[in-house]
Structure formats: C-alpha cells, structure tokens
C-alpha cells in the first residue's frame, strides 16, 4: 500500500501555500482558515485576560483578601458577550454550509465510478464494465461522481488531499463528488471502524492527465484495471432487465403498462402515494427494486415484487446504471 500513497507534501504545507489538490479542497481550507483565525482571536482574548488577571491580581499580602470589590454582574457587558458569540457562530455556520452545499451540487457530465466497500478492500467498477481493486483512475479537470455502497458493514471513503469523505452503508447508495485538478496519486482511507483490517483498508486515487486517461480508457488492459469483464454496466443491466421480466410490467416508452414507464426515470420528480415528491436518484431506483413497497408511485398499485433475493447486488447496480441511460 505504501507506494500508493507517495508523499505529496504535508497537508499543512498545502494550506499555508493555499494550494490544495483541488479547487474544492481550497474552498474547504478557506473555511478552515476563517475558523482558525476567529478561534485564535478568541483564544488569545480569553486566555490573555485569564493570565493577565491571574498575574495582576495575585494575592500579595495575606491580610488584603477582604478588600476585593463586590462585582456580581454587569448587564451591558453580559449582553454583548452573548450577542457577539451568537453572531460569530451564525457566520461560521453560514460559510460552512455554503461551501458544503457547493461541493454537493451535482455537475453535469461527471465521470461515474462505482465503489463498493467490503472487509477490507474497495471494489471498483466503471460504467464500461472494467473492474479493479483498490485503485481508482480518473481524469484530471473533470467532475467525478463516486457512487458508494458496501456489502458487509459500514465503511468510510475519505481522501484527505481533497478534504472529501462519505460513509459507505450496506443497503444504501451514497454519493461523493469531486473535481480533481492536479494529476497525481492520492491515498483513500476507510474512516468508519470496520473490524480487524480497518487500518489496512486503503485504496489509491490516480488522477491522470486527460490525454493519458483517454488512452487508458481505450485499452485499459495494459495498466491498472483488471478489465476482464468488458461488458459495460448498462449493457449488462439491459440484459438483466430483459431476463427478469421487468418489461412485463414496465414499458420503456409508450403506453403505460402495470407500472410507470422508464423513459427519463432517472432524475425525474416522482409524486408518491401520500402526496410527497421525491427525486429519482440512484438510491431511489435501487430501493424501488429491492423494496418496491417502501415508496409507491401515485396512481399505481403496490404489486411490484421485490428483487432483493433474486437479483444480486451487482446486478441491481447494473440495472440502475441501465435505467440511468434511458433519457
């Protein structure tokens, strides 16, 4: 694992040079710096006073201790020391939240990578069907969307150099977005304790210059990815859908059969029984297949069978990938 994580210079060094491994990381660092400055200011203020008072008002002669003044409150002072921290925390909250939502904004045209955590490795799948273990290749300068899942226990997916982190949860799909700017190799750590091998659960993220990436994507067998199974995910998904009888109830386009049709299903707003609306993201699609009764589309009967036991997790991923292609 060592080579995977070639020294990239300490993170600390990067902050103070204000050069993080991506634009996003630099934004996070800016929030960090802001809180740091505010924190140091209040620390020096309070502890400076503490030390100053402790020295200045130390008891000089033992008989003088009945002469301290009776100061028990000061309304104005107290008002301000409630008001000022309240304002400061709202400001910190606001910037932390803004930057966070910025980073989570979906970006069009993102390169997708499926990553599944299991004790104690990361399984990587690309939409074109290549697979790999513990090694992820992405192009520099393009948005990347990691679609995360786990097969046994909760794992974490964390790249310190990009300040990004997301848990991988069995039975759910979570998403982490990233736009790596600088080519290089970066470590990925598991951050949620997952058993004996937890501290050895690591992967590397290889950010390639776009041209190199394109070449690798064209004939990947040469380097990296084990790429045996070259059937693209979506193609595999289509095959599964045909075999599993989904099309008995669903039309891709055209007259509505028993269930809703699928054209444009990914990303559409779905009105549910009970009046709520949800956006059909990966997690919703997956849930519709493994637990159709959980959210019923308005106007349709609750008749879809669950595929939880009949379709393995991999196949469900493939089906979801296929559904996403139906634009």
């Amino acid at each position: 694992m060592e080579g995977a994580c070639r020294e990239k210079g300490s993170v600390m060094g990067k902050v103070f040079a204000l050069g993080a491994a991506s634009g996003q990381a630099a934004q996070v660092d800016a929030v960090f710096l802001m809180i740091l400055v505010i924190g140091i200011f209040f620390f020096l203020l309070t502890q400076g006073l503490l030390i100053y008072f402790a020295v200045k008002y130390r008891r000089r002669s033992p008989d003088r201790d009945n002469e301290t003044p009776r100061i028990t409150e000061n309304r104005v002072l107290e008002f301000f020391w409630i008001l000022i921290p309240s304002i400061v925390v709202v400001v910190i909250f606001y910037y932390g939240w803004r930057v966070y939502t910025n980073l989570h904004e979906p970006e069009a045209g993102a390169v997708e990578v499926y990553v599944n955590g299991r004790q104690w490795l990361y399984e990587i799948k690309y939409p074109d069907g290549r697979t790999a273990i513990n090694e992820i290749r992405v192009p520099a300068g393009k948005p990347v969307k990691f679609i995360l899942s786990a097969s046994d226990v909760i794992h974490g997916f964390y790249f310190p150099d990009f300040r990004g982190k997301m848990d991988m949860i069995p039975g759910r799909t979570t998403v982490l977005r990233l736009q790596p700017d600088r080519p290089g190799r970066y470590p990925i750590f598991c951050t949620v304790y997952c058993g004996t091998g937890h501290s050895n659960m690591m992967a590397r993220l290889i950010v390639m210059p776009p041209a190199e990436y394109a070449e690798w994507a064209a004939h990947g067998e040469k380097e990296g990815g084990e790429g045996k199974e070259h059937e693209p995910l979506a193609v595999r998904g289509e095959r599964i859908v045909k075999n599993a009888g989904c099309l008995n109830c669903h039309n891709i386009e055209g007259p509505v059969k028993v269930g809703p049709d699928w054209k444009g299903v990914y990303g559409r707003k779905v009105l549910l029984e009970g009046g709520k609306t949800v956006t059909a993201d990966e997690d919703y699609l997956r849930e519709s297949i493994v637990d159709p009764g959980a959210k019923i589309v308005k106007g349709f009967p609750n008749v879809m069978p669950t595929y939880k036991t009949t379709l393995p997790k991999d196949d469900i991923d493939a089906v979801v990938a296929y559904l996403k292609t139906l634009k």
């Binding site: 694992m1 503490l50 009776r70 304790y193």
Partner: protein
C-alpha cells in the same frame, strides 16, 4: 454555624467491610463510587498507554491489529461508562449534594445504596465480557457490532445496568435538590455545583433510557436475529447511530456540567471574589442541557443524511457554544480584581479553563459542515474530545479532588508535590493531544492500528507526551495516598469557603451537621466584610 461540632462521630470512624457494604450514608457511598471509578480510570489509562505504545511504530509491532482494536474499545468504554460519567456525579455529587444543601442525606438513601450495587453488578458484567473482548469501539456501530464474534451482548448488558444505576442516582438527586434544602436555601442561594448537578441529573434521567433500549435492540438482533439494524433483512444500520447519539450527545454534558460546577465553586474561593453572573452560570447549565438534546446529528454528517438535515443539526450545534462561552467569560470576570492564590485546586481550575477553551474553540471546525466532512473520524476529533473531556471534565474532577480532599479525608495534602504533579499533567496532556490536532488535520483516521509512515513523527510525539502525562497522574495519586496516610489533620474550613460543607468538621460527622443549618445568604459573599443578602 462555625467551629467544630461536639456531637456525633466522624463518618469514617466505623470499621469493617459491612459498615461500607451496607452503608446508607451518602458520603460513604460517594467514597465507594470514587474508589471504583478511579480504579477504572487507571485501567482505562493503562489501555491508553498500550495504544500509544503500539502507535510508536507505523506497522504492527507489539500487538496484533485485533488486540489494538480491543484495547481502544476497552479504553473508550471504560473511560466513558465506568469513569467519566459516574465519577463526578455519583462520586463527588453523592458526597457533596446533601452537604451543599444542608441536609443529612439524599432523599432515598436505600435507593442510593442500590444504585451503587447495580453499578457494581454492571461493571462485573462488563468484566465478564472480556472472555471474548469487544472490538467494536465504544460506539458499537451496527452492522459490525451485530456481526462480530465478540461478546457484544454481554458488554451492552453491563452498560445497561450501569445506565440503570445512573438513572436511579439522577432521580435521587433531583428529588433531593427539590425536597431536602435546608431552611432558607432558596434556588438562587444554591451553590453552582448544585445547578450543574441538577441539569446533569435531568439529562441522565431523560437520555439514559434511550441507550438502554438501543442496547436491548442490539442484543435482540444478536441473540434472536430480529433485524432492526441489518439491511439485508430490512433493517437500517444508520438508525442505530441516531439512537446511539441521541443518548451519547447529551451525555457529553453529563460529563462536563458537573465539572463546570466544580470550577464555579473553586474560582471564587481562591480569588476571594463573588462569582460573576451567578444566574447566567446557573441558567446556562439548563440551556446547555436542553440544547444538548437537539444536536445529535452532528456526529453523522457523513452518514448520508440529507443535506437539509445536516444543515439543521449544524446550525443548532453552534448554539451550544453560546451558553458555554458565557460560562468561560463569567469565570474570567470573577478573577478581575480578585485576591488570587494558586493552591492545587485553583491550578486545576485555571487549567480547566485553558484546556477547555482549546477544546471549545476547535468545536466550530467540527460543527461547520464543510470542515467537518474533512475532519470527521480523524485524529482531529480525538484531539478535540480529549481537550473537552480530559482537559475539561477530568481537570475539573482533579480540581474537585484537591479541593475537597481535606473535607473527605480530614487530612491536608502536600502542596508542593501536588504542584509538581500538576506541571507534569499539564505538559504531558498538551504534548499528547495538541499534536493530534495536527495529525488529524493531515488526514490520519482514528482507530488505526497501523498507519502510513507520513504520520510517524506526530505519533511518536503523542506517545512521549502520554508517558509524561502518566507520570504526572501517578505522582498526583501517590500524593493522595501519602496525604491519607500521613497528611497533617485538616481544619474544618482550610480554604475559608462559604458553602455549607465547610461549616462542619473535616471529615464530617455521620449526620453531616450537628444541627441543620439555617441559610440566610448566598454562598459567594467573598471579600465583603459581611455577606450580602440575596
């Protein structure tokens, strides 16, 4: 009220194990709690040192990874459930709540004894779980905790019992504070330690049942296969985290509020000044207790909760900072124009403010969403909570131990040795834990038995610091033992404090006071020729 009482025997005079095991004297029960919890502080500390030993090298060297995982689980579980949560409330609280309000005992002495023995049963079960020691971390996250071969059900049953004991103690204290106050002891004449304990007891009574139920569900999942948290059978692993933190977040205030109460006692006594902003300190404890129930989600910003829920929890989290900051300002303002001396209790109290400020001011990094996503589950968090829990609560506990030592034992401590111990603790603590902020910022995840060589230097520094800290603590407790064995006898009120426990002999008589005192004033009228009337 002053002066040595002629009637009654010192509470320590009766001998023999029965006089302890069956005692209904809140002071003896408090002492038993103190001894038990301090024993676990030492055991937990030994585990911590083993962890630091292993982390001297990036590769597994002395123990297997599994052993390391067991050690950090036991370190966390023991320090939290068997030391920090019970030590101040059940130990010092038991001893001093009745004395502070001028009562002869708690409201339900028999229940109090029962709580202690339930606590003992709890830790015996915890020890029994060592046959197949836990390796889940003290947080017990599912699905791992539902799957591992370790004795999760046993350990969680032990903690269930300990929780029961702390609910009973909490109830007992609430009733005691409501019903047993001496004549004239209005709410606003109560020492601030009591306000802290009151808020703490409320949290214990409300929050502890939740963790009890959570552990029951987990046990049912493990034993009967009822899948509450197992996704492959329709459960939800993240649900466990919600339950767990709904308890475990408020519980950090169970740990810190009593310590803050101690600080509010010690600072005025040693600066001979009335406490500044009495009501602000008192009510901010209640505010913290209340807000503490609304922010559990900030432990789960990366668990796939919706961004909206994250924003909501982040926003509320910041508001816990305000009442906390107010307390710190009040303590510092109390020093202003005081006549300050620096005996060991005061040194620890000032250290509390200093270290807790670091812990508090690193909180916003974890409360703000953007930076929490980066720092969550790294050593930054480890550093942050050790600054608040150890730099805060444990320093407050040490302040309390030094402050009340003469009262509890009737002996004085060697001040010089106490200061040497303090210096070592202060130095060792900062070397160990300040470094961890940097380690965490550089991205090293917590709970790692092995790590990349790029973090080597930081880890070695932390390990050296932990050795200094350990020496400091040994010196401190050696001093306590020496004090008990051959310290000079303590006068009734060595610190010239105004709270009621000091107005009786040291050690107190079994009935606490020769006769129930009548209170005419608040306990902070220092410096004035005569106390003011509240």
């Amino acid at each position: 009220m002053n002066g040595e009482p002629e009637t009654g025997r010192g509470y320590l005079e009766e001998r023999g194990w029965r006089s302890w095991a069956y005692t209904m004297d809140h002071k003896r029960i408090g002492v038993m709690y103190l001894c038990t919890t301090i024993a676990f502080f030492f055991i937990g500390g030994i585990f911590a040192l083993l962890l630091r030993l292993e982390l001297l090298s990036p590769q597994a060297k002395y123990f297997s990874d599994h052993a390391y995982n067991v050690f950090f689980t036991l370190h966390g579980a023991m320090m939290i459930f068997l030391f920090i949560i019970p030590a101040i409330p059940s130990g010092l609280g038991n001893f001093f709540i009745p004395m502070h309000i001028g009562a002869r005992d708690v409201a339900f002495p028999r229940l109090n004894l029962a709580s202690y023995w339930i606590f003992v049963a709890g830790f015996l079960v915890v020890i029994a779980s060592l046959v197949s020691p836990m390796d889940t971390g003290w947080t017990f996250y599912t699905p791992y905790s539902a799957k591992t071969g370790a004795a999760v059900a046993t350990l969680s049953f032990g903690i269930f019992l300990i929780g029961m004991s702390s609910i009973l103690t909490g109830l007992n204290f609430i009733v005691t504070i409501h019903m047993m106050r001496a004549p004239g002891m209005t709410w606003h004449r109560m020492p601030l330690f009591l306000w802290g304990m009151y808020a703490t007891s409320i949290i214990q009574v409300i929050a502890t049942p939740v963790v009890g139920v959570t552990f029951l569900l987990l046990a049912m999942e493990r034993i009967f296969g009822v899948a509450f948290f197992d996704p492959s059978k329709g459960g939800d692993p993240v649900l466990f985290q919600h339950f767990f933190w709904f308890y475990s977040h408020p519980v950090v205030y169970v740990m810190i509020l009593p310590a803050m109460g101690i600080i509010s006692e010690v600072i005025p006594v040693f600066s001979r000044k009335p406490i500044f902003g009495y009501k602000a300190i008192a009510y901010s404890s209640l505010a913290i207790a209340f807000l503490g129930f609304l922010v559990w989600g900030h432990h789960m910003f990366t668990s796939g909760m919706s961004p909206l829920a994250n924003a909501f929890f982040s926003f509320l989290t910041f508001f816990v900072a305000v009442p906390t900051a107010v307390k710190v300002f009040n303590w510092i303002a109390t020093l202003y124009k005081g006549s300050i001396t620096f005996e060991a209790p005061m040194l620890y109290a000032l250290t509390f403010i200093f270290l807790f400020a670091v812990g508090g001011l690193t909180g916003p990094f974890l409360g703000a969403l953007a930076t929490d996503v980066q720092l969550h589950d790294t050593y930054f968090v480890v550093a942050h909570f050790h600054y608040t829990m150890m730099g805060g609560t444990v320093m407050g506990f040490f302040a309390g131990l030094h402050y009340w030592f003469p009262k509890m034992t009737g002996k004085m401590l060697n001040e010089k040795v106490a200061r040497i111990a303090w210096a070592l603790v202060f130095l060792g603590f900062n070397v160990t834990f300040f470094t961890m902020f940097i380690t965490g910022f550089e991205g090293m995840p917590r709970r790692y038995a092995e790590y990349l060589p790029r973090y080597h230097v930081e880890n070695v520094i932390s390990s050296i610091g932990s050795a200094i800290l350990a020496v400091g603590i040994l010196v401190m407790f050696w001093n306590f033992l020496q004090g008990i064995r051959k310290g000079p006898p303590a006068p009734g009120n060595p610190w010239r404090a105004l709270t009621l426990e000091w107005q009786t002999s040291s050690p107190p008589i079994t009935e606490n006071f020769p006769e129930i005192p009548v209170v005419t004033d608040w306990p902070y009228g220092y410096g004035e020729p005569k106390g003011r009337t509240a």
